[in-house]
């Protein structure tokens, strides 16, 4: 048994501080695994990145009234919206933290999803080696656009 971990820095995320709208879009084929074989299986058998090149999230900060983008601090937020992976869109609500420091915004969140909810089939032969739930960690830094 070993941890299967992959990183993806090919992400565009936009937060609208006026409306609380938050969106992420990432390229599925850019997940980088330690092993080339894991990467190949992920792209070809699980996420099917040629057929479904992107995963997206579009949502809003539910407790926008608790936020003060003009004041430094760490704010606990709940973000609700639609998560689209592998051609399946599901409503999710996830906790996160927004950090405001000298005008810059960074966002972190950790939440879990089940591959089967997104119609990602794990072959029977490796079912015991792959967890039923996958942990997703988000870490974004934003720049102000006028």
């Amino acid at each position: 048994m070993e941890d299967i971990k992959a990183d993806n820095n090919q992400v565009i995320s936009i937060v609208n501080t006026a409306t609380g709208d938050l969106q992420f879009s990432l390229l599925n084929n850019a997940f980088h695994f330690k092993k080339a074989l894991m990467e190949e299986h992920f792209n070809e058998d699980y996420i099917e990145s040629a057929k479904y090149p992107k995963s997206t999230f579009k949502g809003t900060i539910s407790n926008l009234k608790d936020m003060n983008f003009g004041k430094d601090g760490i704010y606990n937020v709940t973000v609700s919206g639609n998560l689209s992976i592998h051609g399946v869109t599901k409503e999710v609500s996830v906790p996160g933290k927004l950090t405001i420091k000298k005008g810059s915004i960074s966002a972190t969140s950790t939440f879990k999803i089940k591959p089967k909810d997104y119609n990602i089939k794990i072959p029977a032969g490796v079912k015991n080696n792959i967890a039923e739930t996958v942990e997703l960690t988000v870490n974004c830094t934003y720049e102000k656009k006028n």
Binding site: I12, A36, P53, K145
Partner: protein
Amino acid sequence: MSRKRIILIAAICIVLAAAITGYMLWNKPHKEVKDASGVKITATELYNNFITDSAKARTLYTDKVVQVTGEVARLALNQQDQQIILIKTPVSGAYINCTMEEKTNAVKEGASVTVKGICSGYISGDAEMGLPGDVFLVRGYPFTK
């Protein structure tokens, strides 16, 4: 040699071959980028191809080694301390966004650069907010040959 012994040796050979194949598959290296021959293209052409006909551009460039030349707009580091080179495109605020495999001091903002890397594709931005998208390259190397 008895028939039993031949069968036993053959079985051992098959098991060994399977084990070696499995080991090699499990440990096979990632796609070679540094010394691979990449598709030579300018940042302008690559970006224009993705925004005018993304389906065709995906077929031509996605998951392939490309060698992109353009002007360095900005250098940055991502959260994993990897160097990012943003190459200018014809669209203001839109870049060929290259995540580099190794850090380099040889690349300067405003100078011309050629980066060889694997093209991951294009992510559109948000038209309503006036934010254009980027074309992404991963496992990039500055091309010096």
